[in-house]
Amino acid sequence: MENDGRRKFLGVCLAGATAAAAAAAAYPVFRYLAPRSDQQGSNKLEFAASDLPEGEAKFFEYAGSSAVLVKTKAGELVALSAVCTHLGCIVQWEKDKQDFLCPCHAGRYSPDGAVLSGPPPRPLAKIPVTSANGKITVG
């Protein structure tokens, strides 16, 4: 029957189309569930320890935004995001007060990023930093 021929053809087309649709649906689900390779931590930055005297801060770019490295008078080494958590201005290091002041709305942070006063809702984000053999490694 002519119908039979048509049905077989349509059947093949349908089988193909549904298989394609099933594959198109399964792929995103697989990618969504698959464990992700560690994307952070691949970009590290190095500084010479002599670049950073005590009581001073060094600003640099890290992971696409501003960051700051601080060596407190007590000798502690801290790396922080320099983006103020209030609205996003870059904080400034006040050498005389040994703290961070945001010029936009006077948010104040301690050398380890905690909020001292002003509108910032959260402390400055910490960035991992290590020091060895006269070299400082950030990230």
Binding site: L10, A17, S65, V83, C89, C102, C104
Partner: protein, 278 residues
């Protein structure tokens, strides 16, 4: 053709018509506009002065139009005092400062805007403080403080004290950058409304915008032109980041077109298969 004939004969048409109207109405309805923020519980300052007449009540109305009001910053933030206790609201021992005298105005605003204070004091305007020069409120107003923009530099305002010549040059040099910033801001807001995580981009733009706006208080033409260049580089970076988002979006649309086409093909095939059995 049998089901079409059925359709014509049956009374599904009015139902279908009404239903398609419903779907069209739902789809054509425009989106509600972006919501404006309401101020949280009002301070006693506003509660009292809001009902006072003339000079004592005027600041409240002005303040309501301000960007301070939009961000929940009330009278006590600048003037001190207790915002919750009406008895101590204007008590000096509770930090109430009253209205500052003219030479004290920059320091008054500078308590929250230290960066601007620094720039202003270093500029020609700041050096003229107390000698007929402008204070913050000369250009920004005191209670109806609006979001800073280039429009504050205009002929009417500047010619109160001097000619508009240099101000015009500065304004023109900055107009293009300002336009660029406004454009990026709009794009970021559009993307945020579509669910894109714009936090980092938004913060970068805010930082660049503020850096740019400090130039306003500079009033030194050469410095303005030099800084503008740096700022344009930063804006270029933001542009590139946004372009990446654009491209990802375009790819999604292509994939979407394929998906919809695929579904329609499936519908057609199933339909033809069904006809072959009728």
């Amino acid at each position: 053709m049998t089901y079409l004939r059925q359709l014509r004969r049956s009374s599904l048409r009015p139902a279908l018509g009404a239903l398609s109207l419903a779907v069209l109405a739902a789809l054509a309805a425009p989106q509600p506009t972006h919501a404006a923020a309401e101020a949280p519980a009002e301070t006693v300052c506003i509660q009292c002065h809001g009902s006072l007449p003339d000079r004592l009540g005027a600041p409240v109305k002005l303040w309501r139009t301000s960007i301070h009001s939009e961000n929940g910053i009330s009278c006590n933030a600048c003037h001190g005092g207790d915002p919750k206790d009406a008895a101590d609201a204007m008590n000096r021992s509770r930090g109430f400062l009253g209205a500052p005298k003219e030479p004290d105005i920059p320091a008054f605003c500078g308590r929250c805007h230290p960066g601007v204070l620094k720039d202003y004091l270093a500029s020609a305007h700041g050096r003229a403080l107390g000698k007929g020069g402008p204070t913050c409120v000369t250009c920004h107003g005191n209670h109806a403080v609006l979001k800073a923009s280039l429009d504050l530099i205009n002929e009417k305002s500047c010619t109160r004290c001097h000619s508009f010549e240099r101000a015009r040059i500065i304004k023109e040099a900055m107009q293009q950058t300002e336009g660029h910033i406004v454009g990026i801001d709009r794009k970021i807001k559009d993307y945020q409304a579509q669910g894109v995580d714009t936090e980092r981009l938004g913060k970068s733009l805010f930082a660049v915008r503020n850096r740019f706006h400090t130039l306003f208080h500079e009033v030194n033409v050469t410095k303005v032109k030099a800084e503008s260049n740096d700022i344009n580089t930063e804006l270029g970076k933001l542009d590139r980041d946004l372009k990446v988002v654009d491209e990802a979006r375009a790819k999604r649309k292509v994939a979407g077109a394929c998906a919809v086409a695929g579904a329609l093909v499936l519908a057609l095939l199933f339909h033809l298969m069904k006809k072959s059995y009728d």
